[in-house]
Symmetry: C2
Subunit: 594 residues, 2 copies
Amino acid sequence: MKVTLSALDTHESSFTPLVVIELAQDVKEETKEWLKNRIITKKKDGDDNDDFLTMAEQQFIIKHELENLRARDEKMIPGYPQAKLYPGKSLLRRLLTSGIVIQVFPLHDNEALKKLEDTWYTRFTVKYQPIDSIRSYFGETIALYFGFLEYFTFALIPMAVIGLPYYLFVWEDYDKYVIFASFNLIWSTVILEVWKRGCASMTYRWGTLVMKRRFEEPRPGYHGVLGINSVTGREEPLYPSYKRQLRIYLVSLPFVCLCLYFSLFVMMIYFDMEAWALGLHENSGSEWTSILLYVPSIIYAIVIEIMNRLYRYAAEFLTSWENHRLESAYQNHLILKVLVFNFLNCFASLFYIAFVLRDMKLLRESLATLLITSQILNQTVESLLPYWLQRKHHVQVKAKLQALKADIDATLYEQVVLEKEMGSYLGTFDDYLELFLQFGYVSLFSCVYPLAAAFAVLNNLTEVNSDALKMCRVFKRPFSEPSANIGVWQLAFETMSVISVVTNCALIGMSPQVNALFPDSKTDLILIVVAAEHALLALKFILAFAIPDKPRHIQMKLARLEFESLEALKQQQMKLVAENLKEEWREGGKEKTP
Amino acid sequence: MKVTLSALDTHESSFTPLVVIELAQDVKEETKEWLKNRIITKKKDGDDNDDFLTMAEQQFIIKHELENLRARDEKMIPGYPQAKLYPGKSLLRRLLTSGIVIQVFPLHDNEALKKLEDTWYTRFTVKYQPIDSIRSYFGETIALYFGFLEYFTFALIPMAVIGLPYYLFVWEDYDKYVIFASFNLIWSTVILEVWKRGCASMTYRWGTLVMKRRFEEPRPGYHGVLGINSVTGREEPLYPSYKRQLRIYLVSLPFVCLCLYFSLFVMMIYFDMEAWALGLHENSGSEWTSILLYVPSIIYAIVIEIMNRLYRYAAEFLTSWENHRLESAYQNHLILKVLVFNFLNCFASLFYIAFVLRDMKLLRESLATLLITSQILNQTVESLLPYWLQRKHHVQVKAKLQALKADIDATLYEQVVLEKEMGSYLGTFDDYLELFLQFGYVSLFSCVYPLAAAFAVLNNLTEVNSDALKMCRVFKRPFSEPSANIGVWQLAFETMSVISVVTNCALIGMSPQVNALFPDSKTDLILIVVAAEHALLALKFILAFAIPDKPRHIQMKLARLEFESLEALKQQQMKLVAENLKEEWREGGKEKTP
């Protein structure tokens, strides 16, 4: 492991390291020289107003500049004839795909990080997170995730508070459950709408609310035959759309269906185990076997988590193989695949217990076990385990460094060596997914297990801390990424809340207490439940439509902005007309003079 | 009636009259002179590139310019001290509200109109309409209405064709009805999605697809106390929002509810009449009384139409009294009021017959009578009657003119006199509303009366002609108005098609044939129907989501446009940077020289 800090030699002492480019061990000198020259030339061309920007913004700009280093007349990367180039090809991408550059990552700012940590999670008190500081250190996308996590936790508190007495006083009275479920439904619609407004306020403050969509470049892994892109007129690899469609419909779709089938198969094994445990308990009936009753659920919960994670890799591989041109298309196909499978994998057994077995006691037990096990697993696997591993590694590196007694600036050297071995943060996808599944556990069968919200709140209070730890200490610092909202997750959460209307209405309709109200006619009962469900769904859509997506003061400010830019445009055009007139008048004068 | 063609005196002979401003009879000379000066000054300021524009576009610009004639230092309109002005107030609006200007309307271009008519409707053959010519004569909004009418008619043809054999062979077999209804549901979703795509292609061709929203001025009738608008910083009338809310919730809402109640009351009278007619028929049983059976429905259909029209006036008055600042807010509140009432007024009786009385024979009769009567009434009241009245008036004016033996240019004089007495076209609202209600008749209970689509197609084939006649000969030429799509009507049609999923599923579930399949358990039947309904609704939403709103080639063109504008922006910024550098260099040079 050899690290050369070549930047240190060429720059003055006030130099702040921002981004690290890790090269492979055996890269030729000629290649290094060429790459350095290309980066420096690019830098000289640009304007230099780094002082006004936060470190995260500077790093974002460097990343953007590096990604836009493009081949001019080079036919290949100097020293690597097999790494072909064509005019306009991004150099960094070719360097990465041919293994010359191993990774590019921004460095942590230890001082700022320490400050951020102090206000964020090191003191274990319940308080608001410093979202604006998170944003200036990690960028908008990550700040929005923590903002959403905090908002969602606060939004769950009323549910948890109302749910507690149902559990404590064993209110089996379904009249009260109906009230709880109705509250739940309206609440879930309102919180999602209110989040949109809060999110708009936040991103307005950050200046990313009216973010112009950047023109999207092909994603790194995209490959094809060189041709002319009909939009940009530039030469770039083209991959025919029909081939992609074939891959999607003939390979990915059958594979996903197979996985779904396998997930259902595992579910049936779980029910067999459940029946076996119940049989054992009924036959012997000791205290040991009553604990045994929970074992199948716990095993199943662990298996679900493992399957979710394995499937995630398969989905990533498949979606990457589908060879989407744009990162956004890749993300959409990946999210769709993962959401469908995770939804079925996590909730199929609950649906089966609720609507086929109709065993409310089992549903409650199963729901509780799944929720709690998955929360414990997630927190362990996601943050604590990597943190522990990384601490161990940290100590090893320190020892090695002291043995080396390096005479160069040891702090920076140490920092680079440590951070380059850290794992990469793969984006907010998994974090949102976890919240999405949690929302499912809380809302889908809320009237059967009102305690779920309380568990979710407890989990999220620690989740904030473990996620913060993960961001600050476990993973490499990610490049900041501007964003205006939580994107497709808003839609996913809204869909979940629509499904929860249906399940909750069905559960209430099936409850013996409600059935007792209609001793003569099941038909009337069902019709009333269906009518109520339709009314609730209609109410949901009307609510979603009637609540404006942006608060009034933001609307006013945006209107003012629009008005001012229109006025400025008008002024500019007027000036243009005036200048043209002057020009004409002058030329008219000239023609007359001779 | 005295008409002075003052424009004729001051202009050269090649003058084409575009827009007429009708002044009140007793306007003072001083006021006329001032108004003429203001208009002419404005005209001189603007650039004059009328040659590139169609007549409709020229008229649109003149309207825009007239509406933007604003008070400078005038405190009142000269000659009318009671017509107060303040800086920035639109002169035209004050002139209209104080009754000095009676109306402003664009003139027909008789030659172009004749040509348009020839390709449009005078030859009674079934063919595509010349949408592009309609657009260049009447503007995008009206062309889009005719485009939608044509598209909708073609889209109904498959429904009509499939529906016919059901009627002819009296297929009471509900298996087949299930197929028909399912086809209907998917079809209605698909046609609405395909329309969006077709509409995008059309408006892309016209250049209005990516139309920048103009900054909206307060609507003409808006009044309030003078204050500073917080968005524009300009002085204008302000009206507190809470007062408007009070008017909406304390007056408009109760009034609408009262109207809905009254509509239900009239419905109950209709059912009494129906029962009376049935009783009479059963007692005597002659052929006369069997015709009598249809009379209550016909009377009810006429009453519905009258109530719809009366309510329309009330809704306009109320919405205007609510004093909305923007035209768009006014339109939204008006459309909401009118749609809710018309929906209930037209369909409440059908819902009552279908789901309370459960009398499918009466439902079919009632549906047929309502549909056919309303179609006949609409075509008569909307186009033929006004056309006949206007022809009569035309003849009178011609006779008068010949008696006058005017020595000025009689053709233009005659045209102005004729057109100024024509009715004003109040926008596409009523035309879309008619199609919306027709869509309701066709889709809500389609499986009971599959012939409805055929009647709708027949009606629309003549509707195209009568609407075209109305636009060309009955009403004043409207100012053209650019638009990108059919706006809120897309949402209204989609909502109707969602409701129709629910009603059709319910009808199928209620049919004796389907009931016969489940002799033992009504519960199973209902559960299956509800499950199918949910699946269909989910399918609808997935379809709406999966079909892209713009065709691929339009998406590509828009992407190309965006790319090019981004490139141009980049170039401009590069130039700016280069110029700044040059400037700095030059100044640096200067400083050194001395």
